[in-house]
Amino acid sequence: MAITYAVLLFLIFYSFQPTLSLYEDQVGLTDWHQQYIGKVKQAVFHTHKTGRKRVVVSTEDNVIATLDLRHGEIFWRHVLGHNDVVDGIDIALGKYVITLSSEGRILRAWNLPDGQMVWESSLHGPKHSKSLLLMTNVIIEKDNVVVIFSNGRLHAVSCIDGEVLWNKDFEAESLEVQKVIQPPGSNFVYVVGFAASSQFEMYQINATNGELLKHESEAFSGRFSGEVSLVSSETLVALDSTGLILLRISFHEGKISIQQTPISDLVEDSPGPAVIIPSSIMGLFTIKINAVTIFIRVIGKGKLEVVEKANHETAVGDALSLSEGQQAFALVQHAGRDIHLTVKLAHDWGGDLLKESIKMDQQRGLVHKVFINNYVRTDGSYGFRALIVMEDHSLLLLQQGTIVWSREDGLASIIDVTTSELPVERAGVSVAKVELNLFEWLKGHMLKLKGTLMLATPEDIAAIQYMRLKSSEKSKMTRDHNGFRKLLIALTRAGKLFALHTGDGRIVWSRLLQSLHKSEACQHPIGLNLSPWQVPHHHALDENPSVLVVGRCGPSSDALGILSFIDSYTGKELSSSRLVHSVAQVIPLPYTDSTEQRLHLLIDADKHAHLYPETPEAISIFRREFSNIYWYSVEDENGIIKGYALKSKCNGNVDDKFCFDARELWSIVLPSESEKIIATVTRKMNEAVHTQAKLIAADQDVMYKYVSRNLLFVATVAPKASGEIGSVTPEESWLVVYLIDTVTGCVLHRMTHHGSQGPVEAVFSENWVVYHYFNLRAHRYEMSVIEIYDQSRADNKDVWKLVVGKHNLTSPISSYSRSEVVTKSQSYFFTHSLKAIAVTSTAKGITSKQLLMGTIGDQVLALDKRFLDPRRSVNPTQAEREEGIIPLTDSLPIIPQSYITHNIRVEGLRGIITVAAKLESTTLVFAHGLDLFFTHFAPSRTYDSLTEDFSCALLLITIVALVAAIFVTWLLSQRKELQDKWR
């Protein structure tokens, strides 16, 4: 008995731990990791010193990174918090990267070579304002000084240690500081801005001690609009609020003069108000009227002259000082498939320093930003390299008329992901490009054999490893037997669709959606949702699957919708349409038409349902299921959850037969003074559940899982407690969780956690929901599980009833029957806070489940669901132990080997997506944030396939050797017998 018990326990524990761990040589075999930084906001080059040339960038995803200028690789990267937005970056002393972030509150210096933080200082001020960072060449006591204007206060900070040397407040209530300027060679700075938007204010401040030298102001009859361009160190150009009059403001030697020039004087046919593009190029500025970019030069005493009008899309870079008094700037213009990069001198419009034409991939869209840097060519002249940021957020380095490198940083902001199967392997279609020949195959197997027999030299081992990593098997463009090879189709914030191969993570195709392109009718298009549209099974050989992208024009929910259909294999946009209604919800229905297009129901802001595809066949299918379609909406700001069913055709527009009215069936109103919805979770639509019954071995009993697709988990907290953790006392915070049937609106379960608060991360699968929250009383994070069982089918455990057929297991389940459910729940402490949570999903749902948790350290941790079993008890009985019930502990274990990201961090982790492979044991896991990470994961080991390093050759050789041995011994024994007989 003792030994069985011991063996059992050993097996139990053995079975979780090594399932997850990974040997060193398995890294990179099935997983890949890609690092991105997001759309670049600002770039500073560092090329003066010898050594590795690099560029420092800050991005819209709050990343500071230095990139190698030769290859575009990341040297180092720091991801600041989501509320720590970078306001400005610069390089100080040639070795520090200075960053101003968090609305000008935090100034940090990073060591340029390795990215270590050198110092950090926090700057405070009396009021909220624009944040400006200015590198000065003023030296105070051997310290270089950086001047920062933030929160209504001017600070001078030492570059060496971040000490604040002096500061000065700008108390004036309405002062909006626009620029901080240091004229070259002087040791004072100008702080200029507008007061009450009709008065220009200029302060001259001694940069060494912060003393106010001069303060002048000048009233203006009109009002200023926000942006300004600097055309010399003592001259600004601004626009008035109508956008029709240019204002040239000069404050030379403390004398302010404002000169007004109507734009119509400069441009004859100016059709509308202009916008100024802020820049600081000597003697030149740029305005934009509609789509036309106009360059205007400032000549001498207040004379303005238009030098060029560009009708193409144009991006202008900032000025780059070449030598004393010489400034260059870059502009990029689109001309068909090419882009023209021009570098001009600021004072000489005609003379181009550089003019290059580069062929550009149409899928990158327009150039949004350009940053230039100069270098000295081998012949002594100036050369320029340009870093350009494209519409799809990608980053490219141009030099000598070619694209040196490019980075697909759009992938840092994935909105939605779906998967698509690859094409079926067809006879006659050659995939020879990636196929190995026989010799190589044999050689590979010989090497593997050597490795198995431990005869391999270190070089061989390296070769084996290389072979395994570069295995052509995994990156083929065809479907495989195990279902490991798929296309991950990702929609990014820039409106670009990428298809990534799961084998090696390469981009198979990418497409900037024309329908999500900014246009007259649609000013701010955004992508919302991506779903499989057509998945051909019957005609898998000659039809391509397609995906549906749903977007809308603008962030508000009543903006008009956009639909786009894209071929999953080629990325071609099959069709797209502008909808005449808005899109609030997208509901894929579980029905497909004869061409296997999935029916979708789009709910608009007025609660009308619109059916797609708009075909008569779809309508006829829809009519059949008309009374069985229900949906719900969650209005989280009101705390109301409502359920709907279809009523009839829309009354308003008679001709639209694909539009239906909804009727409100139920509503749940949460009291606004005590509850606020913070999380809602449902089950995945396509989840497979293997069995409805759960055997309780302990008392020889069967429980039936309440497996319903219509369950909604809702978590609410006290409105006071919806802020950050610790902002309320335990007595005034609570967390209430609900399980709601979305057809009838029945609250199946309701439970209060006192003294707890959000944020809540939850996952719903089969008949259980696991959620994560903070317990204020215990000062710890907690995870709870609710399992829900169906009592109404509980009488079906009699074998005789099953034999005779007197059971109700096969009868359809209706939500309108009164639900008799039993819930079991339990809470456990958990150490980490979570960013995301998901659960493994397998093809048939047989394999046991593991929870995948995105930890605060941007890693993905796997935890066996058995740890979150509500039936765990302190001393499980023998039978319970055999069933796999783990003795109760108060906290959930974190097993270091169970990080499925092993030593990799998926920076800025936002979502974890699990996709079932065809092989039952394996789940494909895709984690995305700034970085992308993909791996295969087997929650209960790969019990249904041989491991990848299994040597078939060894097996064959063993069999051959055995057969040979049998033959030889047979011969020997015959000879022996013969000899015996002759004796």
Binding site: M1, A2, I3, S627, N638, I640, A645, K647, R663, E664, L665, W666, S667, I668, V669, L670, P671, S672, S674, E675, V736, V737, I740, T744, G745, C746, V747, H749, R750, M751, T752, H753, H754, N775, A778, E782, S784, S792, S811, P812, I813, S814, Y816, S817, R818, V822, S825, Q826, S827, Y828, F829, V874, N875, L888, T889, D890, S891
Partner: protein, 300 residues
């Protein structure tokens, strides 16, 4: 309609999960139990299921108890709608509001009186049954100041209600004096191919249950000593319970096998010796002589 109207005042209290088991209990006594048993209890959110079975027409009147004068009685109405028609009053819930010492208010003693269907309504309901449409009800979201922020709506396919009469089942989820949700439907099952069945009696029998939020189970808190103590104690005590055989069977079985093997060998050996020695009759003495000393030497 014109049947004999009997005034029934029964308060039935059940446990949360078994409202079916009806049991009679005097309501006054129960109230006292609540008053004294739970007054000053720290927890306002305790489940308080109440179920009333109301006769269809008359309001269930009860004698007021002088103790309860501090509690205020309130009424709120149930509205119903046939399909997409407008809502019309259908009945009245009456309950008492109990104010706790810490300021919380809860409802107790919910009772419900259902108005009978008028002929018009009966016709409407028949239409619903024929078209398998929804019968909808609504409640105010706040019972003190109806309708509160909004109405709580619930609906059921009309074909689920008819049994003998019309059976309905309310589970009202409360939070203080706010109604969060109401689960409305038939008290039993309503299997999917819903058949058209007209009720024999056009009178409702209603079951109502009030539900408050449950407390979530706390995470188990172990102190180190308890865990250590239990583990240590449990594992030391257990082994002696096992028999000698249970403990050492894995040694005993091989031992037995070896012994048996040895015995069989020992059995065979003498026979072989005997059979082998028979043909050479002359030699044994020599053999015995030869062997003699050696065995003697061995014995020493």
């Amino acid at each position: 309609m014109d049947t004999i109207k009997v005034v029934v005042a029964i308060l039935l209290t059940f446990s949360l999960f078994s409202f079916h088991s009806f049991g009679f209990q005097s309501d006054e006594l129960l109230v006292d139990d609540e008053e004294f048993g739970l007054e000053g209890a720290p927890q306002p959110r305790f489940p308080e299921p109440t179920s009333t079975r109301s006769a269809p027409v008359t309001t269930a009147t009860r004698k007021r108890h002088s103790d309860l004068d501090s509690d205020s009685k309130i009424e709120f109405s149930l509205d119903h709608a046939f399909g997409d028609s407008d809502f019309a009053p259908a009945g009245t819930f009456s309950a008492r509001i109990k104010t706790w010492s810490h300021g919380g208010q809860t409802l107790t003693k919910l009772r419900f009186s259902r108005n009978n269907f008028t002929n018009e309504e009966q016709k409407n309901f028949k239409n619903l049954l024929e078209s398998d449409d929804f019968y909808r009800i609504r409640l105010p979201s706040n019972v003190l100041s109806p309708p509160g922020r909004n109405f709580i709506i619930s609906s059921v396919k009309a074909r689920c209600l008819p049994r003998e009469g019309l059976d309905e089942h309310f589970v009202i989820h409360m939070e203080g004096v706010n109604v969060l949700a109401v689960n409305y439907g038939s008290p039993g099952s309503c299997p999917y191919p819903r058949n058209l069945k007209l009720p024999v009696k056009w009178s409702f029998s209603s079951y109502t249950v009030l539900k408050n939020s449950e407390q979530a189970p706390r995470a188990p808190i172990f102190t180190e000593e308890i865990l250590g103590g239990e583990n240590g104690g449990g594992e030391v005590v257990q082994p002696p319970e096992r028999s000698f055989w249970a403990k050492y069977w894995m040694y005993l079985i091989p031992l037995g096998l070896i012994i048996m093997n040895a015995i069989t060998q020992a059995m065979n050996m003498p026979e072989e010796q005997v059979t082998g020695q028979v043909p050479a009759q002359g030699q044994p003495s020599a053999g015995a002589v030869q062997r003699g000393p050696s065995s003697a030497a061995r014995r020493r």
